[in-house]
C-alpha cells in the first residue's frame, strides 16, 4: 500500500502538515541538554595555549609557572599527545591530486595559523586551566607567512609546507565544448571579477566535547556537539588506536551547526586523547574568541568569469577561473577541496548551454583552515552565474527575467545532464520563476522603482535562480575512501502502551529533524505524532548513519523512517490479523487503533495489541511473528545527488550618499520535492536566507598581512541581526524525487545559496543608472561608495 500524498484527507495525514516540534518546549524552557550542561564525576577541563603567530617553529615550552596555578592537573605538549594520537591527512582519493600534510591534534614543532592549539592545560576548572594557559611560555621562532591567495603560487612566495613542494593543494579543470572558439565569435562577451569573503558559521552553541575514557570498560564515551556521530566514532577510534566498537559518541542537543560541526577539530581530538591518558572525563567547550580563530572558515574565493551570449540573449559559453585559499591544512576527513569543486560543479547550473569551462585552484596559506559551511560552494557559484547573467542582460538591454526565461532548462526536459556533468532528475525553474514573479508583483515593483528613481530614490530588484545539491550518495565522500556514510537507517519500535520509539541515524541540530521524523513515523504507522518519541545521536543506540549534512536529513533519514514505519505497520497488522482472525490487508491503523480498512470501524486499540504481545503472548497462535521492532535503511542509487532548484528576489534601497543598503523585502520560491513540514521548511529557507544576507552585506573575516585575525569577536565580525532583515515571502513548487517513496529532497541550504546573488544583483540594478557596480562581498557602505566614485582616497 502506498501513501496517497495527493489526498489531504487521507488517514493519519501528518506528512505535509505543520505539527508542533516535540523538542521545542524543552528548548524554550531551558531544559535542553548541551555538552556544557553535562557534569561527570572527576571531570576535568582543558584549555589550550594557541599560537599567536601565523607561522612559527615551536621551540622550548616552559610550563613551570603554569603548573603552580591552583587546580592545574597536567599539561600536555604536542609531542606528548602524539604518543597516543596519530596524525591525520585531509585528502580524498576521488579529488585527484589533492594533497595536505599530516596534521596533529596539537601542533608539533611548527604552528601554521593564529589559533592553532599548541599546548593543552588540564585543570579542575576552565578558569584555572585558562589562567595557567596564560602562563605557559612557548619559545616561538616566527617563519615567513603566506597570506595572500592570488600570489600563493608565485615563485617568490615561500612554500608553507616544504614536504608538499608548493602551495597548491588542489586544482581541477573541467571543460565541455569549445569555450574559446565560442567566446571569439560571440555577439557579446561580458566578464567580471567576483569576490566572496571569508566567513565562519557562528553557531549559538560553540563547539564542545566531553570525553570519558573508562579503563575498566576499555571504552571511550564522548558527548559531542556534532552533526555526524558515526563519523566522529570512526575518527576517534582510528587515531586513538581503539576498536570502533569501543568508542561511543553521544550527541544530545546541539545549538546550531551550519556545517561547522561536521569536521574533525584538533582540540576536540586532543581532548579525547587526554581523557584516554588521564583516565578521567575531560571537557572542552570553545569560547567565542576561540570559535572565531578555530571553527572552520569558508567562502574565501576570488573568481574571474566570462559569459558569451548571442543577440537573443542565449547563453553560449561560461568560463570560470575560481581561486580559494584554505588555510594551512585541508580539513579532515571531508577535505577543503570540496568547496572549490562545488563551484566547478554548480556554475551555470540552471541554464541549458553547451560550452563550459571551470577551473578551481585551491592553495595553502597561514590562516584558519576552511571547509564546508552551509550551502558549500553554492553562494559562490550562484553569485558568479547570476552576476554574469545580469551583466549580459544589461549589456543586451534585456530584462533580467527575460534572459533567464530564455536560458533556463525547460520544465519538461528532464532527466538532463548539465555541461558540468551534473544529472538532474526533475527541476522546475520556469514554474518557480513564474510563481516568484507573481508573489512579488514584478511589474508593479518595476513601476515603483522607476517612479522613485525620479525622486532620487535608488531602489534595485535582483533575481537569482539556483540549483542546490542535496541527498548525496557515496559519490560525495565514500568513493574517496572516507568512512562517511551516505546511507542512513531508522528503527521503529512499538512498546506495550502502543507508543512508538524511533531511533534514527540522522541528527537534531535545532533544525527540527525530530519533528520531521516523528510525523513521518506517525503517518507511516498510523498514530498521532505525540505518540512517537525520537532518539537520535548515539552510536551505540541508533542505526548506523551519516548524520546531518548536505541537506540529507529528510531525504535520506526521512525515507528510512518511512520504510521502517511502514514495516512496523505491516508487523502490527500481521499480529492484529491473527488476533482478529482477519486478513491483514483488510485492516489499517488509524490514530493508534487497528481499524477495518474499508469501513474505518475500530477493531482494537494498539495498547491492547501491545498488552497481548508483551504480556499474554501465550494467547497468540504459536509461530505468529511478533516483531514489533523494525529497521530499514535507505540509500539513493539512481542519481549521485538529488538536485533541487529555486529562485530568489531581493528588493532594496541604496543610500547613494552613505552607501548603506536597506533590505526592503525578499522572496524565495524553491522546490525541495515533498514537503514534510511546511513551517520547518519555510523557517529553514528563512534562516538560510538570513545567513546568505549576512554574507552579502556584513560578514567578513579580516586578516592582516602577517596572518593576524583582526575581527575575532561578535563586536567586530558582523552577523546579520533581526533589525536589518527584510520580510521574507517563501513559496514552493513540489517536484518529488522518484528515488524514494517519500519524495523529499533537501531544503536546508537553498536560502543561503541564492540570497547573496539576489542582493548583489539588486544593488547593481540600483546603481546601474549611476554607473557603478559591485562584485566583491560583503557590499559594505564603503565599497558601494567607492563603486560610485564618491570616495576615492
Amino acid at each position: 500500500m502506498t501513501i496517497s500524498f495527493g489526498n489531504p484527507d487521507r488517514p493519519n495525514s501528518y506528512i505535509g502538515k505543520t505539527v508542533p516540534r516535540p523538542n521545542a518546549p524543552r528548548l524554550v524552557q531551558g531544559r535542553g541538554k548541551y555538552v556544557d550542561d553535562i557534569v561527570l564525576p572527576r571531570m576535568a577541563h582543558v584549555a589550550f595555549v594557541r599560537s599567536p603567530h601565523a607561522h612559527a617553529t615551536i621551540g622550548a615550552i616552559d610550563t613551570a609557572g603554569a603548573k603552580e596555578v591552583k587546580g592545574v592537573l597536567r599539561i600536555f605538549t604536542g609531542a606528548e599527545i602524539a604518543e597516543v594520537c596519530t596524525p591525520w591527512v585531509g585528502v580524498l582519493a576521488h579529488l585527484k591530486g589533492l594533497k595536505s600534510p599530516p596534521q596533529h591534534a596539537l601542533a608539533v614543532d611548527r604552528a601554521c595559523w593564529v589559533g592553532e592549539p599548541v599546548v593543552a592545560v588540564v585543570a579542575t576548572s576552565r578558569a584555572a586551566a585558562e589562567e595557567a594557559a596564560a602562563l605557559v611560555d612557548v619559545d616561538y621562532d616566527p617563519l615567513p607567512v603566506v597570506t595572500d591567495m592570488m600570489s600563493a603560487l608565485d615563485a617568490d612566495t615561500p612554500v608553507l609546507h616544504a614536504d608538499m613542494g608548493d602551495n597548491l593543494a588542489f586544482r581541477r579543470l573541467h571543460e565541455e565544448g569549445d569555450v574559446d572558439g565560442v567566446m571569439a565569435t560571440a555577439h557579446k562577451v561580458v566578464s567580471a571579477r567576483f569576490k566572496t569573503a571569508r566567513h565562519t558559521g557562528v553557531t549559538l552553541e560553540p563547539r564542545s566535547i566531553l570525553a570519558d575514557w573508562n579503563p575498566a570498560e576499555q571504552q571511550l564515551t564522548t558527548w559531542n556537539a556534532t552533526q555526524a556521530p558515526h563519523m566522529i566514532q570512526t575518527v576517534l577510534a582510528t587515531h586513538l588506536g581503539l576498536p570502533e566498537g569501543r568508542v561511543r559518541v553521544i550527541c544530545d542537543d546541539v545549538g546550531g551547526s551550519y556545517g561547522i560541526k561536521v569536521h574533525v577539530y584538533p582540540d576536540e581530538v586532543a581532548t579525547a586523547a587526554i581523557s584516554k591518558i588521564m583516565e578521567r572525563p575531560v571537557k572542552f567547550v570553545a569560547d567565542r574568541l576561540e570559535s572565531f580563530s578555530t571553527d572552520i572558515h569558508a567562502r574565501d574565493h576570488e573568481i574571474e568569469a566570462k559569459i558569451a551570449v548571442d543577440a537573443e540573449g542565449r547563453i553560449l559559453a561560461i568560463d570560470v577561473d575560481d581561486w580559494t585559499a584554505i588555510g594551512a591544512y585541508s580539513v579532515y576527513p571531508r577535505t577543503s577541496a570540496i568547496e572549490g569543486n562545488q563551484v566547478v560543479n554548480l556554475c551555470g547550473g540552471p541554464y541549458d548551454f553547451a560550452n563550459y569551462r571551470a577551473q578551481t585552484t585551491v592553495v595553502f596559506q597561514n590562516k584558519t583552515p576552511t571547509c564546508q559551511y552551509r550551502a558549500v560552494g553554492h553562494p559562490i557559484a550562484v553569485a558568479v552565474t547570476e552576476g554574469l547573467v545580469d551583466l549580459a542582460a544589461a549589456e543586451l538591454g534585456m530584462d533580467p527575467v527575460e534572459i533567464r526565461r530564455r536560458n533556463m532548462y525547460a520544465d519538461d526536459v528532464y532527466p538532463v545532464t548539465s555541461p558540468a556533468k551534473m544529472k538532474f532528475e526533475g527541476l522546475s525553474h520556469h514554474a518557480s520563476l513564474n510563481k516568484l514573479l507573481e508573489l512579488m508583483d514584478y511589474d508593479g515593483l518595476r513601476a515603483e522603482q522607476a517612479a522613485l528613481r525620479g525622486k532620487g530614490i535608488h531602489r534595485g530588484i535582483g533575481i537569482a535562480s539556483f540549483i542546490e545539491l542535496t541527498n548525496p550518495s557515496p559519490f560525495m565522500y565514500g568513493i574517496g575512501g572516507a568512512r562517511i556514510s551516505a546511507q542512513d537507517g531508522c528503527t521503529v519500535r512499538m512498546d506495550p502502551d502502543g507508543s512508538l520509539v524511533a531511533l534514527s541515524g540522522v541528527t537534531e541540530q535545532g533544525q527540527g529533524t525530530e519533528a520531521m521524523l516523528s510525523q513521518i513515523v506517525a503517518e507511516g504507522v498510523g498514530v498521532s505524532p505525540d505518540r512517537v518519541r525520537v532518539i537520535t545521536g548515539d552510536t551505540q543506540v541508533t542505526p548506523y548513519g551519516g548524520g546531518t549534512w548536505a541537506s540529507r536529513g529528510a531525504g535520506i533519514g526521512g525515507e528510512a523512517a518511512l520504510q521502517s514505519a511502514r514495516a512496523l505497520r505491516g508487523a502490527i497488522l500481521e499480529v492484529a490479523g491473527a488476533m482478529l482472525q482477519s486478513p491483514a490487508e483488510a485492516l489499517d491503523i488509524r490514530d493508534g487503533q487497528v481499524v477495518d480498512a474499508a469501513s474505518g470501524e475500530v477493531r482494537m486499540p494498539l495498547e491492547e495489541l501491545g498488552r497481548i504481545v508483551y504480556f499474554r503472548g501465550d494467547t497468540l497462535p504459536k509461530g505468529v511473528p511478533r516483531e514489533l521492532v523494525q529497521t530499514r535503511h535507505f540509500i539513493t542509487s539512481d542519481y549521485p545527488f538529488a538536485f533541487t532548484n529555486g529562485v530568489q528576489a531581493s528588493y532594496l534601497e541604496v543610500d547613494t550618499e552613505t552607501g548603506i543598503v536597506t533590505l526592503l523585502k525578499h522572496w524565495c520560491v524553491e522546490d525541495c520535492g515533498r514537503i514534510i513540514n511546511p513551517q520547518l521548511v519555510d523557517e529553514q529557507i528563512r534562516g538560510g536566507i538570513v545567513q546568505g544576507l549576512g554574507g552579502a552585506l556584513f560578514e567578513e573575516i579580516h586578516y592582516d598581512a602577517e596572518g593576524q585575525l583582526l575581527n575575532g569577536s561578535m563586536a567586530d565580525y558582523l552577523v546579520p541581526m533581526a533589525a536589518e532583515m527584510p520580510d521574507m515571502v517563501v513559496g514552493h513548487v513540489e517536484t518529488p524525487t522518484m528515488e524514494s517513496e517519500l519524495g523529499a529532497k533537501g531544503a536546508g541550504e537553498a536560502g543561503t545559496a541564492g540570497a547573496p546573488a539576489a542582493v548583489m544583483n539588486a544593488i547593481n540594478d540600483a546603481l546601474r543608472p549611476l554607473g557603478g557596480q559591485v562584485t566583491a562581498m560583503p557590499f559594505t557602505p564603503e565599497r558601494i561608495l567607492r563603486a560610485l566614485g564618491r570616495i576615492t582616497d
Binding site: A134, E657, S713, D716, L718, M721, E724, P781, E782, I791
Partner: protein, 277 residues
Amino acid sequence: MKALAGGYAQARDLRHALDLLGQADGMGRVLAGGQSLIAAMNMRLTSGDLLVDISRIAELRGVALDGGWLRIGALTRHAEIGRDALIARHAPLLTRAVGHIAHSAIRNRGTIGGSLAHADPAAEFPACVLALEAVLHLDGPDGRRDVAAEDFFLGVFETAIEEGEILTGISVPVAQDGERHVLREAARRSGDYALAGLCLLRRTAGHRLAAFGVGPCPILARGAMEKLDHGDIDGAVAALSGEIDPPGDTQASAAYRRHLAGVLLRRALSDLEGEQS
C-alpha cells in the same frame, strides 16, 4: 574566556564606595551597569580588578530639575533616560541618543555615568554632554569637584576621573525656548557603535556641534560651528572634515568616515529645518 576578578564588594552608599576604592590599592574598579566592564573582563582585557559595585546606591540615580540645570544621577540607566519626561523636555538630545545605544537588554542595565566614565570614542552620551555643555560631578578622596564636559574626555577610554574618584552625576543646562537638538549617526547594524555620529544644537547664541566615532574622543567642532553660525553649510562641512581625526578599521576606512561626517552634517541640518517648520 573566564573573567578573573580580584574581588567584589557592594557599596551601601557613596561614602562606602569611596572607602572601598581607597582601600583597593589602585586595583579598585567601579562597577555600574557592567555592560562595558563585564564584557571587557570576559575577554580578559582587564583582570584582577577589585570590583566596587555602586549599582545599589540610590542617591546616584534619578533626574531632577534644579533651577536652570537638569541634574542626572550617574546610575540613571539608558532606558530611564529614554523615557524621562524632564529629559525629553529640557535635554531632548539625550532622549534621542538612547534610541541609538545598543539594544534594550543593554539599555536596561547600562548607566549614563558608566557610559561617560568608559568614554568609548564612538559612544553617544559623551558627545551629547559635550554638545550640551554639561558639567560632570566627581567625588573622591580629596572631596568633590566639577569638570566641564570639554575638559573631561582626554582620549580613547580616558577621562579626567582620577584614581579613587567616582562620577556621581552630571548637570545639563536646560534647553532655552526655541533651542533645537538633533542627533544623526550611521552604523552598520542597528545598535552598533556608530561609524560616525553628530550631535547638533541650534541655540540663540549659536550652533553647537559634537562629533563621535571620528576621533579618540568626542570632538567639539568649533570651526564648523562658526561656519554654521554664518549659514555657510559647505564651509561647515569642509571645516568639520578638518577638525575630525577618524580611525580606519575593519568596518570602514578613515576616508569613508570623513565622508560620512559631511553627509551626516547636511542631514542633521535638514533635520533642524524640519524641526523648526
